[in-house]
Amino acid sequence: MDKLKQQMTELPVPTDKLDAAILQGIAKATPPKRKKRGYKVALTAVATVMLTVSSGFVSPTMANVMAKVPILESLFAPHDSVGQKIAEDGLMIPLDQTLRYAGTTIKLQSLYFDGMRFGISYETDAKDVFVTGTVWIDGEEQHTASGGKQADERGYGYFYLDTPASDSFALKMQLKFGDMAGTKAASTTLKQQISLPAHFVTSTEPQVKGEFGEVTSLHHSPYTTTVKVALAPSYDFTKTMDESVIRDLRFIDITGKAIPVVGQFGSEQDGVAEMTYILATHQLSALDIQPYTLALPYGKKMRVPIDAPLPITLGEVTITAREQTDDEVSYQFTDARDFTFDHYYGEGWLQVVDEVGNSYYRSAPVEQLGKNHYRYGFPATRSPLYFEYSEREVLKYDETQRIRVDLP
């Protein structure tokens, strides 16, 4: 049977797509628990994902791959608008340094701090660059989680603090930019005195309890809110070995819309799992936390041509309106479930597919128009396309478990 091995090795591997699939798999994973002290962890949220996405054009092949994982679609649009807002407010610190490794050039551009995380922006001619490193504040090494994302030639590396820094501190960052395996990389050390407006981060310990656990701390800045939740043993989704169930928390603003989570990681202290969520919040006075569970895999799939007469009802989804320009087709739809889906619409799962079932990409994340009213746009095409809805019979949530947290 040597021929079997030989032929297996001859089987072509679509390396770029495979790497993308692997990164998406990691991005979807529930992170292994982080020890409280001494170890850096990687995020499983959007921030860990580094993919090449052209700002003007996304190859259909890549987009097909990406469209299958809703969480990645944030890369198509700046849902994590924190950096942009900080730049508008003039709080970006310019960097001027160029690094090189194995024919790759990394040009560092700017550094910012949003209250709980440092962002390093860079330009590169490489497709995927991973950023790792160590952070010291006033000489003390910090327990950070790190991640990053890259779109086209521009990327960000992120370092999330475990506890907020003071308004003024000496920052030292030892950074490593390299390939996925870390075998080719360039390193540098940044030193910067950081001065923030007074009381930039307000911290409270609200001790708000729910069925899922207790909110132990809130760190609120003009840009982000970091929520730490000590999970109740019965709701400790970091310990579940059930691979087929997702358990998580949804954060909802007072208008009923889901708040974007831009970072998420876990740790453990004295046997209690603590999840940290970093939310992109601007001028919020309160938020609701809603626990939910969702079983995998998907249920039955239903398809209907996208040009069928409206309204189109597929399971819980009703497509109500269609708009078309030369470049884009968009549809508005509602979801009958009371559950608030976020801009990924990941748990609801409506997608557009071609004749053979390949996912057709979205040009932007699903736009949330109201509590359960969405807009879904994608580039116009002459190819026959279909809406495909996958049943999620086992999406479970209990409104009585929803709790409100007032922000400082």
Partner: protein
Amino acid sequence: MTPLQRAQRGDSEAFLQLLAPNKDKLYRMALLYMKNETDALDVVQETVCRAFTNIGTVREERYFSTWLVRILLNTATEFLRRTSKIVNFDNRIEPTTPIEPIAERLDLLNAVSALPDAYKTVILLRYYEDLTVPQIAAMLQQPEGTVKTHLHRGMAILKKQFKGDDAYGQA
């Protein structure tokens, strides 16, 4: 600290380091089950997701590769069951996903790919992964006799199909 220990603490870079020597193998095995690139990539993605989520269950690094393959096999089987549930509202749509033939010159792979899943699995584990029958039995939680039967039947189908081709050696 070893890459496994770092991965078990949530270090995705260390996890990728463990994954790197296995990733092509995962894709190729997935392709033999799913028979098209898109679905094979989906299976790899889900396998990676499950593996990183449950990396804490791996005791020693030398078992990582076998453990990963077991997750892949479970995931591929699950995906195959799932695709059989598609309901089309529009009768104009063909209900099945077209099969993209693996390159014609890879005749043996095409034949293995077409085998019933149970036979395909043991043949891949025995002759591609080089696992022994007891190891396969332990991995699949099947009696050794069942593994041997599946191997024998799978090989019989292949031999019948490739009569006269001496490239396969002895089962």
